[in-house]
Symmetry: C2
Subunit: 731 residues, 2 copies
């Protein structure tokens, strides 16, 4: 395939990178040797070549938690990550009497360590294989979108199955540069992960949602887990007999941290960015996607809020969903604000025009092909918009847990009747344990009345759709219901005729086949059985659309790579939850005229912000300790920064990170741990589309604050010893 040749050529050109451009970029490890001159120029003393090596220091110590990043900090599998990444483990181990979320937790001995939540796994990436050629073999220009999708899907599933033949491993095929290249990622999946230590929530989540995405920040967002394996060293479910995992590499700690202007880098698993999207896609996001989601999320919160006011138990059940909705709401508002302020559509449009001009000016078969792909991609994006209202309505109906559980169960039953390789993604045997777990866990997180309200809310959007976009089975079930009263009555009847609200009943259907489903008299299952052919057809249409878009986006990105190569400009792939490295400088930011934010916050800010009320309720012992250190000009047991003459809490850097990077180690020029990335500033929210080196900043908790809290507040000296950290001013 042409694509990979272009990619290689583009990568080689990275050696001419100017350091000024280097702060943008979530580089794939194999790109780092080409960046070596820039990295050295910026102060990296670690050999850049080793940075490309998954088996070497420091990458081998950096792991994924599935949505978060973490690192090994001791030979006995001790893991450091963000407090918010271990929140599930804390929640799982909390009761009303012993609320470990609020109080924090410290295991003074291994025997005290607590099992994490069932889904809390550690993924150690040990192999990244370029499979572009293998997938490319099956792709042909004459293929339809559906055929292209099928070809990619089939080969991906084959590669994954082959890769996962080794027990204890999880594999995936990841798309790079919109389909220009493909890689097979293999990760060891450690399933026994225990809670070792977390500070009180009033440190670990100090500032809460109010400070989320904000600077100045004073959050001690760190915690510790430990990976356990079977005595033979293989991944295993939780067992008393399991032993600590011995990682091949362990991060070294630099208890003196970094200062303003210092080199810093972050390695981790950024989830998703949209840096190479077309202007039309940005425009759609700003004018439709985000505003619509804001409206829909606000409505959803109102539904939950109304019910929670009457019944506090509803509030508890939906607490996590409410937090998620609020988090996204704030994010979407930030996206709109940032993209509008940056005039992102205009910026993207002019970059696109420049690309197209270049392709036209450098006329040849390949470039003509890229131009055609761009035009087709634009059409496909516009076509997507024509069904977005239906897609949204169906998605909103699916927010009703029981309704979507019924659909999933019927889909699963259908999948059971096929060979594993023929099953839809998400319904293969490897996915069954997760489906089962989610059916089990649903019970604690839903309320039948609220569930019905969600379904009604989605249906009200559905009935407003034009006839051509409606589903026959859904219309038949609605039986002419159009207004809220009638729809409510239909949904009430539907729920009254189903036993799926019962956990055991859901799990009973987990093992059923299509025949059993077809014979069911459960009203929700009957609706799901009726809907199945049409939902399947929609899914097939989506796949075909994906096949098309993938083809054209590949062409567009090949054009982009050719153009950037000609300009000797670096190009890194969009984030796709694979291991990346980003590097930059510890520095503050001037977010607007006359305002300057320092790169470090200090403990004085904790005293300033503290109100005694959540989320600004630092522990009394911490307030006391800070006051006494500040009053006596103390050096915080030697953890204070000599340069700043106080104890830093969090720091800013111009690192290019996004969701998924949470918990990522921030490393100094020697590769030693100096902090943990946990957030970006407000201006970086829209950085997923457009990185602005002047405004975008990552936020890290400072290693000195972590160590001081561990030593002076929580007395977690057992862990300091395990990490070989000496308290500078130990008495």
């Amino acid at each position: 395939m042409r694509s990979s040749r272009w990619l290689l050529a583009a990568l080689i050109s990275l050696a001419t990178l100017t350091p000024a451009l280097a702060d943008e970029g979530m580089w794939s490890p194999e790109q780092l040797p080409q960046l070596a001159p820039a990295l050295k120029a910026r102060g990296l003393t670690l050999d850049p070549l080793t940075l490309a090596n998954l088996d070497a220091y420091p990458l081998a110590a950096v792991v994924s938690l599935g949505g978060c990043t973490a690192s090994f900090v001791s030979g006995d599998g001790l893991i450091v990550t963000n407090h918010h990444c271990a929140y599930g483990a804390l929640q799982y181990n909390s009761t009303a009497e012993k609320n470990r979320i609020v109080d924090g937790f410290l295991a003074r001995h291994r025997s005290e360590e607590l099992p994490g939540a069932p889904g809390q796994h550690v993924y150690v990436t040990d192999r990244i294989l370029d499979v572009t050629a293998k997938i490319g073999e099956h792709l042909h220009p004459w293929m339809s979108g559906a055929e292209r999708y099928q070809a990619i899907d089939k080969e991906s599933k084959r590669l994954i199955a082959e890769c996962e033949a080794k027990a204890g491993y999880r594999c995936r095929v990841a798309e790079y540069y919109g389909g220009v290249s493909w890689r097979l990622i293999r990760q060891m999946e450690i399933r026994d992960v225990r809670l070792v230590y977390a500070p009180a929530e009033s440190i670990g989540k100090f500032g809460g949602d109010i400070d989320n995405w904000m600077w100045p920040r004073h959050t001690g967002d760190f915690s510790f887990l430990r990976a356990y394996v079977s005595p033979s060293g293989a991944p295993a479910d939780y067992s008393k007999d399991n032993v600590p995992y011995h990682p091949s590499q362990v991060l070294r700690i630099n208890p003196r941290g970094v200062e303003a202007g210092d080199f810093v880098m972050v390695t981790g698993y950024p989830g998703r960015t949209n840096r190479y999207r077309l202007a039309d896609e940005v425009e759609q996001a700003v004018s439709w996607t985000y505003p619509t989601r804001i409206k829909v999320y606000e409505d959803s919160l109102a539904i939950i809020d109304q019910a929670a006011k009457k019944d506090p138990a509803v509030g508890v059940a939906y607490a996590s969903r409410v937090a998620g909705l609020n988090n996204y709401l704030k994010n979407y508002k930030g996206q709109i604000e940032g993209l509008s302020r940056a005039d992102a559509v205009k910026q993207k449009r002019s970059a696109e025009t420049a690309l197209e001009s270049w392709l036209k000016d450098n006329d040849n078969d390949a470039n003509r092909g890229y131009l055609a792909a761009i035009a087709k991609l634009r059409q496909a994006i516009a076509a997507d918009a024509s069904t977005r209202d239906r897609d949204l309505a169906l998605q909103l109906i699916g927010n009703a847990n029981l309704y979507s559980a019924a659909n999933r169960l019927v889909h699963l039953a259908e999948a059971r009747g096929k060979a594993d390789g023929e099953r839809d993604t998400g319904y293969q045997e490897r996915d069954w344990p997760r489906i089962k777990a989610s059916l089990e866990q649903m019970q604690r997180r839903f309320d039948p009345a609220v569930d019905q309200r969600f379904m009604v809310y989605g249906l009200l959007r559905y009935v407003a759709l034009p006839a051509a976009q409606r589903l026959k089975a859904l219309d038949a079930w609605l039986d002419g219901a159009k207004d809220e009263t009638a729809i409510r009555a239909r949904v009430a009847k539907l729920y009254a005729g189903s036993k799926l609200g019962n956990s055991a009943e859901r799990l009973h259907w987990f093992d059923a086949d299509s025949k059993a489903m077809a014979a069911s008299d459960d009203s929700l299952i009957r609706l799901a059985v009726a809907l199945r052919p049409e939902l399947d057809a929609l899914n097939k249409a989506d796949e075909a659309r994906y096949g098309d878009i993938n083809e054209w986006r590949t062409g567009y990105m090949q054009g982009m790579l050719a153009w950037k190569k000609a300009m000797h400009q670096p190009i890194y792939p969009d984030a796709n939850s694979t291991l990346r490295v980003t590097f930059g400088t510890v520095q503050g930011v001037s977010p607007r005229d006359a305002v300057t934010y320092a790169p470090f916050t200090t403990v004085a800010g904790i005293l300033e912000k503290d109100t005694g009320k959540v989320p600004f309720n630092a522990p009394a012992a911490e307030l006391e300790a800070i006051r006494s250190e500040l009053a006596s000009g103390g050096n915080f047991d030697g953890f204070a920064s000599k340069k700043q003459d106080t104890l830093p809490v969090d720091f800013l850097a111009d690192l290019d990170i996004t969701g998924g990077n949470s918990g990522s180690p921030a490393l100094d020029s020697h590769g030693r741990l100096v902090g943990l990335a946990f957030d970006g500033n407000w201006e970086s929210v829209s950085g997923d589309w457009l990185f602005n080196p002047k405004l975008n900043r990552s936020i890290q908790v400072d290693v000195r604050y972590m160590l001081w809290v561990m030593h002076a507040i929580d007395h977690a000296d057992n862990l300091l010893r395990e990490m070989h950290v000496e308290v500078p001013d130990a008495e």
Copy 2:
């Protein structure tokens, strides 16, 4: 009187002032010679002695607008002040077709200048006379509070009447140091004040209420008026024959402005501060006054909002009251926030303890007297609290315009039957024109239905009062009505039986005597007549309370002066709407950990903030001009700061100002105009109680921005010429 001796002694000690302490202080002009060393040390090149002289430069050029400050900037009576201080004049000259508030206004010739609103007067202070001895003559230790009040009131009225015998002058007796000293202030009252120039609201009020009390700020808060007098040079009502007033002094303009670190001072008429209040008074403000007012103001806004939603005309009528309520709401929230953050009660309490300890340690008759006064003052403050609910309820009922107009008319009729010197303050002949004007203007600012709602709201609080605090006449009128429905019915009947909603009818009663009032069958007047004796008794009780508090506060302040004198610490009187001078340094601020605000905002910030929507809708011509200057590296017609390499907009200084200082000239070390004070930062809101030199900052519009807008945007070059300002880069 002992008090004045103490004062003089205290003032002499000011010569030992350390500059570090000097930024706090709204100094009375006669104090400035004592501050000379400090002023010179800080860079003042103007002779500090002239600063004490009301007839000399610059004080003779600084005038009051009654609630705002302004200055003469040309020999032909041209006056510069804030945009928001000329808002009334703009409003008065605006119609739906010709909205001068929105568009701004420029008179290119004198003939185009527009008459200001009826109340828009200019007050030129020409004499400040110490009358402490004259008032003291009538005060004796054996007097009751009521007698003391009467003695002060009588002598004050006599002094004022004597002073106002000179036509065209307005006089008042002002209390300093809580009654330690008294001064008679004489001001020439210029009544023909015309609108000369104001930029568009989108410059003059850029940022609106959102940016109110906020930094960074980008408001061009300036405008120009002109004072006119009769051809003979005497104050006169508006007439075509009037001529420009020729002030004795005119401020010189420094078109190069000031830079960070420069000396700067502000002269003006700060309204009121509470720097010497007892801890108990701060505590009452934080725990009761502000929270209660916040609740009450929010309720009032809701009443107006509900009515305005149904009838937009209500919104127009109450626009100014809504703006005022919102302004106070924000202020009160800032007060609570600031006072709580500073732990003001604790600070005041410990300062008080220190004062009391010193008085005890230095035992003598005088000091024993001061200690007793402090104890009694505390008791009086506590006693005040016992009737605060009733006072508030009556005040809230009085928010009903018609109800309070009836009370005022009946009070006025009663006053007409007395000799002028015997009339209550506010009801003397000198007050009649204002009473009449307010009765006339009421029409445009009220709606009968909303008025009734306000009265009902107040009455609902009233009926909740204990029996001992109730008024017999009000209870009799209520006729047992207790709940909202019943009270509404009573109020509706009251309003139905009155013609006071009619402007002519109100003015008819303006001339009535008590006999006519007693014979009236207008229901509101009948209620007011019935209430009059009890309201009068409450008023008398207030006067007696004032007499007591005045005596004890005088003693407390004498103790304070003695103590501060012993410590060689400066002491300035609380603001009381008299002419003051405050000096300091142009400098930024760090409002909280990791945040630094620069001392200057720049035009780039206008582009950043502009959204095209009110209040962030800078004029297209300005945006265009700024963009073009910034793109070309232009110097803004020479008005750009060379040091900053751009055009500054507003600047911060550590000047001690408060409400009433709006429009005050900011002067450089040579006494030249470099800006206009128009606001304080958020942290300074609570500065009225407690000045924090680290956090409190005044906000000034920069003279360079004013001049550039005048020249480049509004082409007001006629005014630049009149002020002898040359455009540095004129073509």
